[in-house]
Amino acid sequence: MKFGVVTFPGSLDDADTVYAVRDVVGIETIPLWHKDRDLHGVDCIVLPGGFSYGDYLRSGALARFAPVMSSVVDFAASGGLVIGLCNGFQILCEAGLLPGALVRNQSLTFVCGQARVKVERADTPFTGLCQRGAVLRLPIKHGEGCFVADESTLRRLEDNRQVVVRYVDEGGAATAGANPNGSLNNIAGIINEGGNVFGMMPHAEHACEELLGMKDGALFFRSIESWVGREVRR
């Protein structure tokens, strides 16, 4: 099992992701460079957090044109696993690999803190080791994390059970108070119809180490590892 973490100009959590997955969780992980189309045989691509190209026009708008992204699109089309965290989620939406878009937080301010998310689907490659309904604690830090989509898209997402994680309160209820950015239906992360492309605003990579206060994030990377392991055996 090998992860590849893409560095775009302006990526910020790329090195942290490599460190967390490789050195803390202990799964082979290599950096990928935005100008390089070669994916170096990775099993899962991570699009990390940050402000790719400054995110000045719209977050994620420019990153999708990087040379590496054409390989990512092909990889996803052939069923490869892709996970986008924060800016990575924004890029996946901009690239059309995930539906909807992420716009300015309702508060119009950047928000950093801990969020609780409920795992709505434990049968995806990204969440296989989670309990369905489990409430995880993960950091968030973004200015444009408000998930929006038109009504029919939103309905389709819910009907197809593509919402993987949702912002909830301690009791597991998706209340307005638990919603840090105004996302429709408290959506924190979604998966594509094919079930191989996943994006979420919370930062799994910053929740892998007890010393840093949270470790639920490691579940996502371990889930992917175990899913890939099973695929290989099959």
């Binding site: 100009p9 910020l12 942290d16 460190y19 950047f110 950093c112 830090k141 930062h203 206060g213």
Partner: protein
Amino acid sequence: MNLSPVDEKTALEHGLTAEEYAGFCEAIGRTPNLVELGVVSVMWSEHCSYKSSRAVLRDLPKEGPRVVQGPGENAGAVSIGDGLAAVFKIESHNHPSYIEPYQGAATGVGGILRDVFTMGARPIANLNSLRFGSFDHPRTRYLVSGVVAGVGGYGNCVGVPTVGGEIYFDRGYNENILVNAFTLGIVRENRIFRAKASGIGNPVLYVGSKTGRDGIHGASLLASSEFDDETEEKRPTVQVGDPFTEKLLIEACLELMEKDAVVAIQDMGAAGLTSSSVEMADRGEVGIRIDLDLVPKREEKMTPYEILLSESQERMLIVARAGAEEEVREVFRKWDLDAVVIGEVTDDRRLRVFAGGVEVVDLPIAPLAHGAPVYERRWAPPTRQADMQRLSLTDVPVPGDYNVSLSRLLASPNIASRRWVFSQYDQYVGGNTVVRPGSDAAVVRVKGTEKALALSVDCNSRYCLLDPYVGAMTAVVEAARNVVCAGAEPIGVTDCLNFGNPEKPEVMWQFREAIKGIRDACNALSLPVVSGNVSFYNETEGRPIPPTPTIAVVGLIEDVRHHCVQWFENEGDLVVLLGRTREELGGSEYLAALHGIVRGTPPWMDLAVEKAVQAACLRAIREGIVASAHDLSEGGLAVALAESCISGPDEPLGAEIELEASIRPDAWLFGESQSRILMSVRSRHLARLREIAAEQDVHLTVLGTVRGSRLRIGRLIDVDVHDLRDTWASSLANLMAGDPRPEAV
């Protein structure tokens, strides 16, 4: 291009005095032209030359066994072992932030980051220290929301976490806010880069953003007729930051520094190309020749004057090894940045600048740099000083209901939770933040080692107003005490000295007293000052700000597992106080917020006692017997107790304090006696803690027990901690909610 000699009138318009102008003419043996006048006026400005402060700053202790780089470079550096050094500095960006709060604060953060990564250090943490006017001033909310968004906007986008800081509100800053930004970076000790040009013939490269007409000094001057034919746009423009480019610049510079190509490097900060080239040449005792035609420009028809004095952001000047030009260009190309050879190092110890084939500047380096004037400004205490220090407590009524007093104090903008501020900052990026904002000091681990660094920035300017000597001392020891409470040994200081007009004797007196205070405190705690910044002329309509010598302390934790936080951890732990409580209310937040009184003398400071308390606390934390440690500051014992109950990430814990007041109850609860630390420990560790305290001759009192969900203090206070938390947690957000202006619509 007009290169004829200037006259004295123009020199005065540039802010030089008649004597300075005459002195400069004499030093260079002729009358400068306008471009040269621009160069000398910025080099001799207070900001670049430290002409009013240099003589006084000599007093600060700058040496110590850990010091790798003291003041004089872009930033200071102290060794943290394992071949690594911590590089840090704090800097002000006060005036720009008042004019344009978002961009002013943002570019302040950008500037201090460059100071640190020019040394070869990767920035891993930012702090910010902010001062605003009171909430009844119409501009305060606008300034607060803009500055906080700007600090976050820049730091978040470059990927350096903001892990702490301070923010205070006081009428004294109504028209003159303070924005001080701090950056800490880590570097291998033997790979520190300095800004000392050398190697005759070595190329000088310009890297980063293009030059525009940003923030050129002397706004009034630009309107002078001399510029009519050459300047399209006379209006001086505000500097706008581009954190994305800065991020690329960080990566490119650090990557380049891994190679053997860089001889010297400096960022283009205040006075841009001028000060960076002059200072690099001065340190290396060489000359420098620059061709302005080669400088990448953003705008057309820029004059040599504008190019030399532009303060466009995200730019650096590099002296490279001859022959390494292509290597430099290649690295910058990888990061999509400009890198252009614009000149070379020369042996004539002169600054020579060419434009359009014409020599527009030919000046000796020495008089521009260390030849700048040094003033012994006159000083005298303000006439009101003695009066301000008079306080008669008999005239201060004791509160009827201490629950109400506590709750009002917790809602005071100077004590309430700062979450509204720091939730706008990325605290996680970098993956090193062990203790995020919200405890006495932030803790960041040092990857690849067992170590961590604790950081705190502090200054109680009310104390400094009432007694700048004691106030400045207190700033140092409080920052150090915060770091100790996190389990760290303080190892270095950087200061940002924000004062009024130094030409006023009262301001100079405040400044001198403050320096003495910093000196004495640093000497007592064996703390070197390795970098700093002076910001004078913080006044409006003749009224100076309260003296604000902001102090940041960096502390070392040898084993990151032994870090400590301020909130109670376990039901049943004993609550213990180190240090003594005196009947002291002068300068307290209690008097100011609840009685509207700002007078008296600040709390007594005994440096020997302080040192002992810190030593005892650190010892106990290192032995692993402390569950929580919290410095007592604004709001005193009661506020510290409340904070330990409610500031943690989980459910609040209550406490039962049996002890009764032995002095005036409001002084006992809310007085701000120094050198005190509130701890919680498992009862089985009490005996050992007593031993440690006895060894250091530190007074120890067992106050009570962590228990339940009420905070009960003797017969004075009995409240539900959830209520306290709600009051404390929502206050700043409520105060800011009155701001109709969403930042950067």
